[in-house]
């Protein structure tokens, strides 16, 4: 019973530490609900698959495209709406999307520093040499 004061103080300290990110001045509450500001392509209304699929599974689509092109020599992708695309990250994906304003914003927000696509794959119409190397994760 003599330790009650210490236990309560410890619990309080713990609660304060755990909730610190929510009330501390450095992270305003509005930022906690902020979503990344993505710049959508101006020239196209529809991606190669429905948005919900692309949002959740674009990495699977990219992996399948990669296997198809490199391993199986299949380069044409027939989309769900019948449109035919070239299975190419640089030509098809980056033909509409901008890496910095689309890919990077979401990946930075989600803390997915992962895919090192850009170590090798180029961005169209930009001076890729100027980007400098990205380190492997």
């Amino acid at each position: 019973m003599r330790d009650r004061i210490w236990i309560i103080a410890g619990l309080l300290l713990f609660a304060v530490a755990v909730t610190a990110p929510f009330w501390s001045e450095r992270i305003p509450a509005k930022d906690l609900t902020k979503v990344p500001n993505l710049v959508l392509p101006a020239n196209q209304k529809q991606c190669v698959a429905p948005v919900s699929y692309m949002r959740a599974s674009h990495m699977l689509l990219l992996l399948r495209w990669r296997e198809d092109v490199v391993r199986r020599g299949q380069r044409r992708y027939v989309a769900f709406n019948g449109k035919v695309y070239d299975k190419s990250l640089t030509r098809t994906c980056l033909g509409c999307h901008n890496k910095e304003q689309f890919c990077d914003r979401c990946h930075t927000y989600a803390g997915v520093s992962g895919p090192y696509c850009w170590n090798c794959h180029n961005q169209p119409q930009t001076n890729v040499a100027g980007l400098g190397p990205r380190s492997m994760p």
């Binding site: 990669r66 490199v70 640089t90 890729v128 190397p133 492997m136």
Partner: protein, 258 residues
């Protein structure tokens, strides 16, 4: 009804037999059409890409390196001055080092100074493929020894296995060493092996390889070695041709007309 041990054994034996014959019948029925189909398409269009290099036409103009330059710019090949870090898809070597078995004491006089263009031989039984632990390099049905750079872990077993020195390792980031990046072809990254891919990205579009297109003398002849009427096969019928180190049993797809 009471079942005797004898009846039980007889019944179970019969049912095993029935199940087994069903499976066998399905396997036979299932295999036949597919086997026919695949062999049918194979017979219709067997492809084995290969190249014939006419050394009489090559380098009519001394020091011509049009094929190498075309390859370098098409495939974003870095130009690194340190010979230990160099990356090469096509390169040249002097005649006597490439074909030492042709030297006879007198032939050297006429051969002196000939630079032979060399590249991946796209072997019929490629040793690099056999040693690759990740299957990052493999042989396609059309004979191209392909690489999947996504999968290469940079162990360099393939470089040790290749008797022709056709493979290069990226010891450093290649991008700073590329003057103009061709956005249509990826660069490579530090830590992967690379080599000539016979311009498979161009073949897919129905074009011939960059080096073949760039040669001013048409000394490089590309075609299907499995087709007896193809251009390389006609040349091979008419002229004496050698391969690089055929005694190793790798079966190179690059022939040199000497």
């Amino acid at each position: 009804m009471k079942i005797t041990r004898k009846d039980f054994l007889r019944l179970s034996g019969l049912s095993f037999l029935a199940a087994g014959s069903m499976a066998a019948a399905r396997a036979i029925a299932g295999r036949d059409p597919s086997a026919e189909g695949s062999s049918g398409t194979q017979a219709a269009q067997p492809v084995r890409w290969g190249m014939v290099v006419d050394l009489r036409k090559c380098q009519k103009e001394k020091g011509c390196d049009a094929c190498i330059r075309a390859c370098n710019s098409a495939h974003n090949i870095p130009q690194i001055s340190d010979p230990k870090h160099q990356v090469k898809w096509i390169w040249t070597q002097s005649y006597e080092t490439v074909f030492p078995f042709i030297q006879n004491g007198y032939a050297e006089e006429s051969d002196a100074g000939i630079q032979v263009p060399l590249m991946c031989n796209h072997c019929a039984s490629p040793p690099c493929v056999r040693v690759c632990p990740t299957q990052a390099t493999w042989k396609r049905d059309d004979g191209i020894v392909m690489m999947d750079w996504h999968r290469c872990i940079g162990c360099r077993y393939c470089m040790a296995a290749c008797p022709y020195g056709s493979r290069s390792f990226n010891w450093e980031d290649p991008r700073p060493a590329i003057a103009h990046i061709n956005p249509d072809f990826p660069t490579r990254t530090k830590g992967v092996v690379e080599k000539c891919n016979f311009c498979e990205e161009r073949l897919a579009e129905g074009l011939s390889p960059s080096c073949v297109e760039a040669c001013p003398e048409k000394a490089l002849v590309f075609g299907n070695l499995a087709d007896a009427n193809s251009e390389p096969r006609q040349l091979l019928r008419k002229r004496f041709a050698v391969q690089r180190e055929p005694e190793l049993g790798t079966g190179p797809s690059i022939y040199y007309l000497v």
